[in-house]
Every structure is written in C-alpha cells, then in structure tokens.
Symmetry: C2
Subunit: 450 residues, 2 copies
C-alpha cells in the first residue's frame, strides 16, 4: 500500500473498470490503497460504484474503509445491504466500540435486526450492553476488546492467553491484571512479558498503580484524565470495580476534536458542527439562528436609539461614535468569555471560586479600558475635536469595556453551573447583549454630560 | 500511587514537613502521587520548596514531574541548579525529544553548557542534531528513541535486541525493520513477535507498507497524516530514506491542541496563547492589539458617517439601524471565515480551487441574506414603519451579508497562499473592515433611494 493523491484521472480510471467489470484490475488497484484513501475515493463515486468496490475488498479491509467514511456516506452505503448482510459482512468484523457507533447511526429498527443476525452470541450481548451507554460517558467511548490475565498465572500462561485473545484485539501494549472475580488489580506491559522469564509470576512484576475510570464517568472527565496522565488507554470498571472495557486514545482524540470544533463554531456563530464541504442548505441552516438573533438584537438597538432621538437630533455628532462604542463592548466581552470557556474545556481553571477570577478580569478590563479611553482623548486633543463629545465617548468606552468583561466572565461560569454548555456565552448572543447595553450606557452618559 | 485532589490542607501539610525537614514523611507522601499531581502541587509551593521536594524524588520520577510542569515554573526551577547538575540529574534521564524541548526553553548559553556536561557522547550528539530542527517540523517533534531490527534477523535475535534497546524506550508497540544501511523497510508489531516462533525470520512476517514522513515535513502535515491513518507513531526518515526518529501520538496531540487554542483565541481577538491563570499584565497585553484595532476601526467608522451627515440630519431614522447593519456584516463575515479557517486546519477543504467554494459561500449568503431581509420587511410591514427606511435597511442587509461572506471566504484563502496564518482573517480585523464597508454601503443605498 502507498499513500496516493486521489486525482480526477484516477477516479475516472476506477469508473471505467467498474463499468467494464474488470474485477482483477480494480482489485489490484484498491489493494494498493490505504483504507483512508479508499474512503476518500468513495467521496467521488456514486453509491452503486462504492458498493461494487466494497464487495471486491477483503472483508478485513472493507470494514476499515467503512470506519473511515463520512457519516452520511456510510449510512447510505450500508443501507444498500440487508440487515443480515450487514451483520455477517461488516458488524461481526468490527471492534465492539466501532460496531456500536455504526449501529447508533442507523435507524433503531434496522440496528435491532442487524444485532439479531449476529451469529456470535457473546459479541451480540456485548453490543447490546454497549448500546445502553450514553455517547458522552466512558461507557459510550469504550470497547469490550482488551487482553486480561489472572494475577495467579505465570508469564508462560499469559503468553498462551494473549495468543488466544490477541486475535480480537488490533493493537496490544498493555495487559490488564484481574483477580478471580474480574476485579481490576493492575497492569503489565507487553514489553515486560517479553523481557522477563517464562516462569515469573504476574503478581511479581505487575504494576498495581493503575488509573481507571467508572463506566458512567462523563466522556469529558475521561479525556481530561488521559490527557493529564498521558495515557494511551484507560481501563473502565463497573461500580463493583470489575474490568468491563477499555477506552483508547484514538476514540478520545476524536471526542476532543469534536468538542473543540463545536466550541470554535459556537464562538463564530455557527450552531451545529458543519464542514465547508457540507451541503448548502445545511450550511445555511447552521448559520441562520445566530443571524436572526443578531437581527433581533439590531432591532432592539433601534429602540434604544429611538429613545434618545431628541439627544441625537440636538447633537448629531453622537451618531458618529455609536458603532465604535457598540463594537468595543462586543470585542471586550468575547475576549473575556472565550478565555473562560477555553479554561473550562481544558480543565485549567483550577478552583471553582468565582471572585478571584472576576477581580482579575475586572483589573485587566480596567487597564485596557483606561488605555483605550486615553488614546481616544489623545486623538480628540490632537485633532481638536469638540471636548464634550470626546468626554462622553471615552467615559462610555471605559464603562462598556468594564461591563462587557464582567458579563463575559460571569455568564459562562453560571452556564457551567447550570450544566448548560458555557460556549453558548461566546456566540453572537452575548455580543448582541453587549451592543445593546453599550449603546444604552453611551446615551445615558451623553444625556448626563451634554 | 493514586489520584488525589491537591487540597489546601494537603499543601499546608507538605509545607510543614519541608520546614521541619521531615524527609521520610515527605518522601512517603510524594511516592503516593502521580507525576502530574506533583506538578500540580508545585504550582502551590515556592521555588525553594519545589527544589526540596524534587531533590527527594527518585530521579526517574523527578524528570516525569519536570515534563508535567508549566513552562515558566519549569524554567525557574531548573535555573536553581547548575548546568552540570541539570545535565546529570535531569537531561540524561529524559527521552531525547523532551530533553530538547526543555533545552530550547532555557537561555542558549545555559543549554550549550548543559550539553557539554552530558556524559553519554552518543546522547549529546543526538541532542545537538535534534536542536537543529525547527519546532514546526517532523524533526522538531521526533525523538531519537525507537527500537529497530535488521531484516535478516530471526525473532530470537530480535528479542535479544529488544531486550538491549528497551531500556531506553518507555513504551513499545511497534518495532521498525531496516536494512544494513539503516534504510526503513517496514514494521513488525511486538504482538507478532510474541505470537510467532523464535526461528521465524523478520523478513517473513514484517509489514512492508509503512507510512513515514521526512524529517523536514511541516508538523501540521505530520499531524494530519497521523490523524488520517489513525497512527500511534510515525517513523521519520532523512532524505536518503534512512530511519532517524519517531514521532509519537502524545507529541502530536500537544501540537494539535496548541494550534487549536491559537486559532480559537485569534477568533476571539486575543493575540497570544494565554490561559486565564496567567498574570494580569500578560492577559492585558494579549488583548490590547485587537482592542486598539477596533478603536481605529471605530474612528474610521465615524469618518464614514460624517461624510453622510447631511443625509443623516435630513433623515434621523437612518441612525437607528446603523448598529444593525454593521453587526450583521461582522457576524456573517466571521461565520464564513471561521469555517474556511477550520477547514484549512483540519485539511478537509479538498482541492485548492477557490471558485466552487466561493460560489457555495455566495449561495449560502444569498439564502440567509434573503431570509433576513424578508424578516425585516415583514417586521416593518407589521409595525407600519416608514417604507423608505425599511427598503434601504433590507437592501443594505442583503448586500452586506453577501459582501461580508465573500470577503470572509477569500481573505483566509489568500492569507494561506501567502503563507500567513489564515486565522488572522477571523479576528476583529476583518469584523472591523466589514463594519466599515457595511456602513458605507448602507448610506450609499440611502442616498440613492431616499
């Protein structure tokens, strides 16, 4: 196999082979590709062409391709097969965590029927038990496949057992040590098993300090635990401390990436996780909610301004600095809220005490607000602008930056306490609020001073 | 060892032991902690207290603690030791990639002196060769530690070699296969070595399809390659295809996380990577550039508005919708640019052809712009607002959303082509530009229609 660029010429060639049913040419060409590259090729082919290719592939490789496909391509492609075919051709070949992820993507009726066709009873029981777990828990991330040995065995017995179990497990680094009741006791590395003598007892060389998580722990905690302690795999236990599964780093990376993408898109005002390659309607739908909130905010702004129309008509210069005050409030607010949201996501915020954080944000805002106001006054002085307006704008600027920073700090912390995604506080929702309050403060100050 | 919460009471206890020099109590307590937890403890102690604890720890654990520390704590703590001490106590115990990362954090003069004190000549040569690589290349991420075997050996010889080499290598999953000239030929898993018979030749069981990267490849490509092909480790070769190092998934995760944080903060208008726990002055400094750009933009806005002061005084109602038009341009622009920036970062954008992407963004903007304008007209109709203003605002809204989306799509793509970080296009810089253009378009339309 080799990494290749999926060019248009290559796709055309594949198409011609499919049309002429040149199976041996097609098979030889696909054999050279990695599963991830075949998945990329499938993006360019229609469903029937994909199915034709998939049926040619050896089943071990076919399932790897399926894992790599985009969700909607995978769904559509699988529904070309009967539930019985899906069970025997694909599901039985997957690791349990991947199998469950894919079953979860299919309609409930179809996935139930697929499981009823799985011939290995143990495996179908595993699947049903995994299907019960929430996606956002350790149980939802874990696979059942792992290698465990009994603490009373010697290494020769271990090797024998590994030989038996290894067939089902793709990558082996650590072996888990349990007692007769399946209680997790520790871990022994494959490296140590190779390096020690065959008659050494597991109990003599195993490491009893093993970090594990319970099956109902939130996925976020699992991710933070693995990142903090630099773990490649985390054993999962039930409430009795019995070993029930294993979360591997690749599953956690996918989870962390999705969460980060969600936060990023929330910050930029996009309400569902989308890619620029998604369909136009999906892209449009994901952006509309925030645009409409912005529209509503803009209309509310017009009410605020209308209230002060008399001040405005007396002093038209006030209109010149409305966008400035509104924009600066929005900027300062997002700066504060995004750093809190990021701290919450990375679990680096430390204690949950709000007051010191608030004081700090207030001081930062005070410094920045004073500098910005000072620059503005300096500008007014140099250009000889009317002093009254300059005073109003600079006081409003300082107040708005202070206010927006406090709101930006407090709102995500409150949302987190209420178990609502704090990233909500970074979107246009809060920017719009800050705009509104900013303009209101601006005109109030103008009314007081001018 | 067990995971514990670092409470204030625990920190106080540790302090008392240090003060009274109760080494055995202190040692016993630290022995129970994981390195990551000791690093957390160090955040609460002063430098001398940290040094006292570090000197008590066995050197193997001490270096793991150092790796886990925050950059500035680590720097200050290490500088409590002489270069010679740093070399013998710490650097010689690290993996080469961690050692180089830490040397890079220290003043050049100090790091040179440290290397001159490293007693293992081979290791110091490795360090010097790694120091030459740019942080943002495969060479900057890779470690020299890996296990390689010759293709002509049998598995018994391999096991013997692994036994020798494994001392320097923390985790072993794959063994790399090279020829007599160190050219990378393939890979064999530790699992296979255990499962096959001792007299089997490496050449019979090794996998020749190995994905590798060259030492000068950008770190971003390395990350995308490992994520695309789900790799835990990626062998790195020189231009002659000789195996020179190994990038492991943990290094890549750190790199990807840093890049994602940078993009997130850029989007929220923060110009350097900071955490909410950083010092007030650093937080303030990281936000000022964008606030000042916003200030400049706001002043430029005031010029635009001033140009249309006669229109404004004739029709004061125009002022009511200035914030709406400006904000919607900003929102739509950031939505477009952030999705392009994310696509570039995840390498999911596909071909580099700009036209289809632009057409798509234009269509999405057209749909959303029409919906928003329609809602606005509906609102004006229901509330019986003056028709002229409603017409101006809705046409301006559509134009601004279209314009901002196109700018938001094109600018990050252009920056990428110019090898400038495209995330720059998501910050307040582009929002400010969109504000400006939005107001200009708004008043031009007003002048034409009213």
């Amino acid at each position: 196999m080799s990494q290749i660029q999926i060019t248009n010429a290559f796709v055309d060639e594949i198409r011609v082979w499919i049309e002429r049913e040149l199976i041996s040419e097609l098979g030889a060409s696909l054999e050279l590709l990695f599963p991830a590259d075949i998945a990329e090729l499938f993006d360019e082919l229609n469903l029937e062409e994909c199915k034709y290719c998939l049926d040619i592939l050896p089943s071990e490789k076919a399932v790897e391709v399926i894992v790599e496909l985009k969700e909607d391509t995978r769904q559509n492609l699988l529904l070309q097969y009967s539930p019985e075919e899906i069970a025997h051709k694909f599901i039985e070949e997957f690791d349990s965590d991947d199998a469950v992820d894919i079953l979860n993507e299919l309609p409930k009726k179809v996935s139930d029927e697929i499981i009823s066709h799985v011939s290995d009873l143990d495996f179908s029981i595993q699947l049903v038990s995994l299907l019960h777990h929430d996606d956002n828990t350790a149980g939802g991330l874990m696979a059942k496949e792992l290698i465990k040995v009994n603490i009373n065995w010697n290494l020769a017995e271990c090797t024998e057992e590994i030989r038996k179990q290894a067939e089902n497990v793709r990558r082996v680094t650590d072996i888990y040590v349990v007692d007769d009741h399946e209680i997790l006791l520790g871990i022994v590395s494959l490296k140590d098993i190779i390096l020690e003598r065959a008659y050494t007892k597991v109990s003599e060389i195993f490491e009893s300090n093993v970090i594990s998580a319970q099956v109902y722990s939130p996925a976020e905690d699992v991710a933070n635990l693995m990142s903090k302690y630099d773990l490649d795999a985390l054993p999962i236990t039930d409430t009795m401390n019995r070993l029930v599964g294993l979360v591997t780093i690749d599953d956690v990376i996918d989870f962390v990436k999705e969460e980060a993408d969600k936060d990023y898109q929330m910050l930029s005002g996009i309400s569902e996780v989308v890619e620029s390659t998604d369909k136009i309607w999906i892209l449009s739908r994901s952006r509309l909610p925030w645009l409409i909130i912005g529209l509503g905010g803009g209309l509310m702004n017009s009410f605020v301004i209308q209230n002060f129309e008399s001040n405005l008509s007396m002093n038209l210069q006030l209109a010149l600095f409305m966008p400035l005050v509104a924009a600066m409030g929005g900027n300062a607010g997002v700066q504060s809220s995004s750093i809190i949201v990021q701290g919450l996501a990375n679990d680096t915020l430390g204690s949950t005490n709000v007051l010191p954080k608030l004081t700090k944000e207030f001081l930062v805002a005070l410094i920045n607000g004073l500098i910005c106001s000072g620059l503005l006054l300096l500008y007014a002085f140099i250009t000889g602008s009317p002093g009254g307006i300059a005073k109003v704008v600079s006081i409003a600027l300082l107040s708005v930056i202070l206010f927006a920073s406090v709101i930006g700090t407090v709102v995500p912390l409150i949302l987190e306490k209420l178990k609502i995604d704090p990233a909500l506080a970074t979107g246009p929702f809060i920017t719009t609020t800050n705009d509104l309050v900013g303009l209101f403060v601006y005109f109030q100050i103008a009314r007081a001073i001018l």
